[in-house]
Symmetry: none
Subunit: 406 residues, 2 copies
């Protein structure tokens, strides 16, 4: 198997102020098509360091993916380092300049003079279009190696790997085409999924796992002659209803499609998540078809005012309790007049926990035409993770109810 | 400044199934005491790869921190790789064996025979105690370089860095500390910030930039004798009030601190952002001190019901308009009874735009004790970015108002 190296550039990665998630993603995707990861190297914004590692990787492996350092500022040094590493001059690349200018035209903004720098490339580089940002990428052939230079902004980099790098590498190394089926799950840990999938691999089937909080993705990489649908059914037998979709968008999109298809509507009432569930639904284009509104009810007074929760209920059971969750869901449903009312109340931490109700205690409730469903979950994590998993669990309660499986 | 390399070992890091957070942490901690990060390299569980990178780093820099690969299983290869890299034999180290055995005794467990492997070290290695796990670490002196081999389990590794590595390196190099000042900005592009900062660098001052959407961070890396406060003032003269804080948390935390200090409260009314502003405020621990509640008003009916917006106003101006934004802010403030009402209505796209009101048209309004402020912004981006920058702009309108600068 041909090996590849990844080089992640950026002072913020080296200083530890940003965690490098790009390199792992690139390793994963390139391994999927049949390449073997060699080294990942992180370097700062130091010209000689970048130059050296580029030269070393190009001498060692046939494929090098380099991310970051394509911006317009003086600490963006990739182009200069690549030119130095491989003895090329730097010049403004007309095609790259046209792409940068076009990106600004499309945004109806004037291009700052600094951005001309993004079109200055090693003379023998070929440009790679970046549809999502101003920094064009580029490709160099050095000896037997191909080097790809991509922006560090994750979603720009990912799109360019998919559009340019993977198709080219497939062709270059005549890698057998593999189909990848992505099975998206909510409510299962990656390690548990892996355990349940033990022994599933067979000729033409490679299984990969990816935690994408709060989701877990199980990927089947299939030889083209295999029946994907039958294999997915087999996976369903192993994993059950934690699977919310196959080759689909995020859970908020899946529940949105359900709601749109049924002509139904939803409103949310959120305490600890403070709008995050509504925002997840609203992040999906066209959400206004089914998301009518919602209430952020951080204070008890707002729980009473916006959702008509009986203050005595809060006094008797506490704001984080099953009765209050149910009252929130039923209240917001009645107030907004939607098919569904989805509510959450919990303790996100770091403070506010008690022996009785520790941090991570969350009550979910879904009110609908046939009554109200409640779930209590325990998420022994830090605040951000509690909130992320609460959104996932709330949307999954809705999904399971819409699919008739509670 | 002496440089250091970090080597992170483990197939799970290279495959992308685990994100390497160790390396960034080590870089950060060692930079604090005055060492300069050189490279971070991630390698898999391949003996030759580990051996090579150890040899290369030891030849290049005077300090190498290597994490992972000290476990008892066959894919834990660090000790073997270090011996091979530096031409030493392997032997059971009596001190290391005593530590492993003691760890099991303390846990009242029998030591599995496999764990004897954890005490097999290069002959010239010296043992480093691991108080928190079974794998002892070790130290090697190779030429002018010192190499530390630490476990990959983060909390074990971190304790050992604090207990062994940092005190030793402090003594070894006796270097003055270097300071990094992070100046956080909202409402300026990275390239524009860099343009305004041109020529700022001088002896002892290095400037770095980092886009952290929707924020931009300008970092000053300073020699210890320089006056950080005076330099920050100089930066303020160049960048102006896009600076929302220095060495602080995210904007939502900064506005939260302002509100808490003033004993004031806030409620939100969100159309296109669908709860994202409230969620950003609610992500900060202790937000319940000032965030009372909010309304997600996706539908026009909810704008009327929750915020008392006059339906005729919507009919006359459209939901995305200055009058409606103002009415939302004033309405939610009155309904919840807060000091501040923050509202947003806009077109996030991809559909819903018109020549008059293209995608990315957003109206912000902030109602407060002295009246209502309005801002219209244009964000010619895709949906996700429109929403991200809208949250930033809304919180920044609040921040500027609280600081008396609108």
């Amino acid at each position: 198997m041909p090996r590849f190296d990844v080089i992640s550039q950026g002072e913020e990665l080296l200083s530890g102020s940003t965690v490098d998630t790009n390199a792992g993603w690139v390793c994963h995707e390139l391994a999927q098509i049949g390449l073997e990861p060699g080294r990942v190297t992180v370097v700062g914004d130091v010209l000689d360091d970048i130059r050296d590692v580029l030269g070393e990787s190009a001498a060692r492996v046939p494929v090098v993916i380099c991310t970051g350092g394509l911006g317009p500022t003086s600490d963006d040094l990739t182009s200069e380092a690549a030119a130095a590493a491989f003895g090329q001059a730097l010049a403004t690349n007309a095609e790259a300049l046209a792409q940068v200018e076009e990106r600004y035209r499309a945004r109806k903004r004037e291009m700052p003079p600094a951005n001309r720098k993004q079109a200055v490339l090693p003379t023998e580089a070929t440009v790679l279009e970046n549809r999502l940002g101003t920094a064009p990428g580029f490709r160099m052939e050095i000896g037997g190696a191909v080097l790809y230079f991509l922006p560090g902004v994750p979603y720009e980099m990912k799109a360019m790997v998919m559009e340019h790098v993977i198709p080219e590498l497939r062709a270059r190394f005549a890698l057998p085409p593999r189909r990848t089926v992505v099975i998206r799950c909510m409510g299962i840990a990656e390690s548990v999924a892996a355990q349940k999938m033990e022994g599933f691999e067979r000729a033409g089937v490679i299984v990969g796992y990816r935690a994408h909080m709060p989701e877990v993705h199980v990927k089947l990489h299939l030889a083209p002659e295999l029946d994907g649908a039958a294999l997915v059914l087999e996976v369903r037998e192993r994993l059950g209803n934690v699977i919310f979709g196959v080759d689909c968008g995020p859970l908020a999109e899946v529940v949105g499609q359900h709601l749109r298809a049924r002509g139904e509507t939803i409103a949310t009432a959120e305490s600890c998540t403070a709008g995050r569930i509504a925002a997840a639904l609203g992040a999906i284009p066209g959400a206004s078809d089914y998301l009518l509104g919602g209430a952020v009810v951080y204070s008890n007074a707002e729980k009473v005012r916006q959702c008509g929760v009986d203050p005595d209920l809060i006094a008797a059971h506490g704001a984080v309790s099953e009765p209050v969750a149910r009252a929130l869901a039923e209240g917001i449903r009645a107030q907004v007049g939607t098919t569904w009312g989805l509510a959450v109340t919990g303790i996100a931490g770091p403070s506010g926990g008690s022996p009785d109700k520790p941090v991570g205690t969350v009550h979910l409730a879904l009110a609908g035409p046939s009554g109200t469903t409640h779930r209590k979950i325990s998420l022994p994590f830090e605040r951000e993770r509690v909130l992320t998993f609460t959104v996932g669990a709330a949307l999954d309660l809705l999904r399971r109810t819409l699919e008739g499986d509670t």
